[in-house]
Structures are given as C-alpha cells and as structure tokens.
C-alpha cells in the first residue's frame, strides 16, 4: 500500500487555496519583527554598568594587586607618622639647621639687620661660628647638640623669634642679638678646645633649639604649672633653671641633674643688656615666675611619687 496518493496529491495542488497568502499587514509585521530582533540596540545605563563590571571582573587580579599595593603604602605612611621619638628628628633637624646656617640666604638680611643693628660689632664671632670646625663633625656628635637660648622673657618677641624659625630663617641672627629680644642659637658640639661661639653659653642637653623656644613660649602662654603637668604626663621629668648672662657673654654648662629629684636640669639663658627697659624686666619676672611654678609642680610630683 502506498502512502502517497498521486490523485489526491494532484487534487490538492489544484485546490482553490493554492495561491492563498497572508495579508500584506501580516507580512510586514513578521518582517519588521525579525528586523528589529537582530537590530543592535543601544545599551542602556544598566547594561553598560554590567559590561563595565564584567570588564573589571576579567581584570580582577589587577585590581587586587593595585589594592594590595595601596594598602601597603597606607600602612607604611601610618607607621611613619606614628614615630614620635624626638631624638630621631632632632638629629636630622640639627643637621639641617647647621647646614642652613652656613647657607643662610641673603634675603633675610633686612630683618636680620634690624635685629642685629645694636650689636654689629659681634659679626666676627658669628663668622667664627659659621666656620666652626664642628661643621664636619661626625654624626655621633651631632646627637650631642649644644643648644643655647638667650631670652629676655618678652612673649611677643619670643613669638617673633619662633616664627622666624618656622620660616626656616636660620637663627644666625641671634648670635649678636641684644636683650630684650629672645634669641636662640644652635651650634654643633665642638671639641673641648673649640672657641666659644658668639658669646653665648652652651650646655650639654640634647634638646633642639626649637624645643627650647617652644618651651619658653609655652611657659609664658600656658603657665609653668600647666606645662609641667603636660611634661609629667609625657614622662618628661626635668627641672628648669634660668641663668642671666650679660649679652655677649657665654656660659658653658655640662649635663647636670637636680640633687633632690635627680631630674635633668635644663638651663634657659637670659641675655640682659645694660639699658633694659622696665617692660622687659616685667617680662623677665613673668618667665621667672612661671619657671618657678614649673619646678614646684615637678617637685610636688616628685614628692608624691618618689616611692
């Protein structure tokens, strides 16, 4: 039995629906639908984000690497910023200041002239200081920096001097400064036979000049008691001593310790001129009073904690 009937097949081919076709509208719908289906569509923002994410995901190892490097750098910066050991910075600071003193720019001359005017005669001493043989001293000795502070206890002038330090105006000006201005001199430790520098006394305390200046400033502004309490909290136990010198004279001090407390003694030298004004005297008295308050606070703390 055949499953394809020729007669029926012929009849089917002659059927009246042989030429039947869909309407034009149907044809357009179908073709339009197909065309739109394969037409590239502009990606919306969400799809763009996903594509970007996919691209990032492909390079995820790169992102991870950069993140790790950034983390390491961040940790290094944080560790570096948390190194408060002053002795480390004092070394480099002293080194820088000493170098700056030698290379002090002439641009500071006008201000220096104003400060130095009454005592220009001491210029040769300053030159001697600049050419000090200690310039080439080994690093070990730099740690034993001599710091000389000359003060007449005038707060406003102390601020001025401090600002000059902050602006990298190396304090060679103080070498010849008269009272009542607050001066600070930093000189490297010289051999015992080295000549005295700029008529100022030095003492063997490894504290940078900026710290001394800051100490004087804090004493006057905040008061001796408050500063002493801060030092106690910081574990910086010491006794302050004011030593008045005639301007142009140099005092030299070895490292010393207080007999009672065995705390380190820090000497603040005060340079007085012959014609000291009355307001300068008042300022000096203020500094002395605050130093006294400072020391008393230290002694009190010693008394309560000596055991």
């Amino acid at each position: 039995m055949s499953l394809r009937d020729e007669h029926l097949q012929q009849a089917l081919r002659h059927a009246p629906d042989q030429a039947l076709a869909p309407s034009r509208k149907v044809r357009e719908n179908v073709l339009g639908y197909a065309a739109s289906a394969v037409k590239p569509k502009p990606a919306n923002w969400l799809k763009r984000c996903l594509n970007t994410f996919d691209a990032w995901r492909v390079a995820s190892w790169q992102v991870a690497g950069m993140g790790a490097i950034a983390s390491v750098l961040l940790v290094l910066v944080m560790v570096r910023e948390q190194l408060p050991d002053e002795s480390i910075w004092v070394k480099s600071e002293v080194k820088d200041v000493a170098r700056n003193r030698v290379e002090a720019p002439a641009a500071n001359a006008p201000e220096q002239d104003k400060l130095e005017a009454p005592a220009r005669s001491e210029g040769p001493q300053a030159k001697a200081k600049r050419s000090s043989p200690a310039e080439g001293a080994p690093t070990k000795k730099l740690a034993e920096t001599n710091t000389s502070v000359s003060a007449s206890a005038a707060p406003e002038l102390a601020d001025k001097a401090n600002d000059a330090v902050a602006a990298d105006k190396v304090p060679e000006t103080v070498v010849t400064a008269p009272a009542p201005e607050v001066k600070q001199v930093l000189s490297k430790t010289a051999p015992a036979s080295a000549p005295a520098v700029s008529g100022m006394a030095t003492y063997e305390v490894p504290i940078a000049h900026t710290l001394i200046t800051a100490l004087i400033k804090a004493l006057i502004k905040e008061g001796g008691e408050a500063v002493a309490k801060k030092d106690i909290e910081a574990g910086n136990l010491r006794i302050l001593k004011i030593e008045a010198l005639e301007c142009g004279k140099t005092g030299k001090h070895e490292s010393s310790f207080d007999a009672l407390t065995n705390y380190k003694v820090v000497v603040l030298e005060v340079c007085r001129s012959e014609g000291e004004a009355s307001n300068d005297k008042a300022s000096s008295a203020l500094l002395q009073r605050e130093v006294g308050a400072y020391n008393q606070t230290m002694l009190n703390w010693y008394q309560t904690h000596k055991n």
Binding site: H7, Q9, L12, D17, S23, V38
Partner: protein
C-alpha cells in the same frame, strides 16, 4: 540568490544578524506554511489563520538561539513544528479538536484498485478547460473532505502530500512515533478516497467523456 542557500544557511545568517536572510526564508516558506495553517485549522477556524501564521514566525525569531543550539536540525521541520503546535493550541481552545479515530472502517479501495472511482479521473496535467475545471472541483472537494478528518490525520496527509515532508520529518512535526504517523496517514488516505469517490463518482458517471 535565494535558491543558492539552503534554509539552514539562511537561518544561520539571520541568527548572525542578517535580516535579509530572514526575508529570503520568509519568501520561500510564506505560502506553503500559510496553506498548511489554513488547511490544518479548517474552515471553522479560518479567522485564526493570520494570527497563527504570524505567531509562528515571531516564535521562530524569538527562539532562533535555541535552533542554533540544535545541530543538523532541519529548518523546515522546525518551522512546521512551531506552526503545528500553535494551530493545535487554537483548536484545543476552540474545542474543535477531533479525536484520532472515530471507528472509521477502511473501505475496499485499496483492495480493488480497478474499481476505484479515481481510476476514471482525467490526467492532472490535462490542458483542456473541462479537465482543469474538474481538478479545481476535485481540489475544493478535497479541502472539504480534509475538514472531516481528525487533526493528526489531516496534518499527516497535508505534510506528506503538499509540503513533501517524509514520514520521519512528520514524526518530528506532530511529535509522535513513526508507526503512529504511518497509521494516521493510512486512515487519512482511506477516508479521503472514500470522501472524494462519493463526491466525484456521480460527476464522472454524468460526464462519461472522461
């Protein structure tokens, strides 16, 4: 140009974004597919033909990626499968789906070929107007007879005789077994022969010139 490429080649081009390939495919299969849908739905569901036809092509467009995944898949078989299922859905919803078998008894045509009415039919390639008119009437009568067939028998007959699909391909289109397809086709032939013979025999006897 459209004859150069096989259906499958055109479909691959369309999947690659060539809308023109789809136009060629559509032009190639538009009328046969439309006829199939029309004949399968019958005169009772003639109003649904456009929808089914359009839905079939749109379904094909949407599912082009799934066709790509099927290796060696015949495009024509896939296209008619989509149309068939869509038409069956319409028939089911309308409640017009006819059961497969209705106790039909095969008549003796196959057993008595010499006595069969179509033995008197004129040649189909006859050029005489009267003969052409006969075949047109026969074609119309065949469509009427098709309406009386169960859906699967109707589908098997149309796919085999009009669209030229093999029994294996019909098996895929109507999603049934090979033997079932053969059975449905045999039933369809038997019924159509009876139907056509009952209609045409009086004409043949009257027009004894054939």
């Amino acid at each position: 140009m459209s004859d150069v490429f096989a259906d499958e080649d055109l479909m691959r081009q369309f999947c690659a974004g060539e809308a023109h390939a789809f136009q060629l495919l559509y032009a190639r299969h538009e009328k046969p597919l439309y006829r199939y849908v029309r004949r399968l739905l019958g005169s009772a569901e003639a109003l649904q033909v456009d929808d089914v036809f359009q839905d079939t092509w749109m379904k094909l467009v949407d599912a082009r990626d799934s066709w790509q995944a099927r290796d060696n898949a015949s495009f024509k078989t896939w296209l008619y499968t989509l149309a068939h299922h869509r038409a069956i859905d319409v028939l089911r919803k309308s409640g017009r789906e006819v059961s497969v078998d209705q106790g039909w008894q095969e008549n003796g045509w196959e057993n008595d070929e010499a006595e069969a009415p179509w033995a008197l039919w004129p040649a189909s390639h006859a050029e005489q107007p009267e003969q052409q008119a006969f075949w047109r009437k026969a074609g119309q009568q065949l469509l009427n007879c098709l309406d009386t067939l169960p859906v699967l028998q109707r589908a098997a007959f149309i796919l085999h005789h009009d669209d030229g699909l093999s029994l294996e391909e019909i098996t895929l289109v109507i999603n049934t077994e090979f033997e079932t397809v053969k059975s449905r086709l045999r039933y369809a032939l038997s019924k159509l022969r009876t139907c056509m013979g009952a209609y045409l025999q009086p004409i043949l006897e009257k027009e004894s010139g054939f």
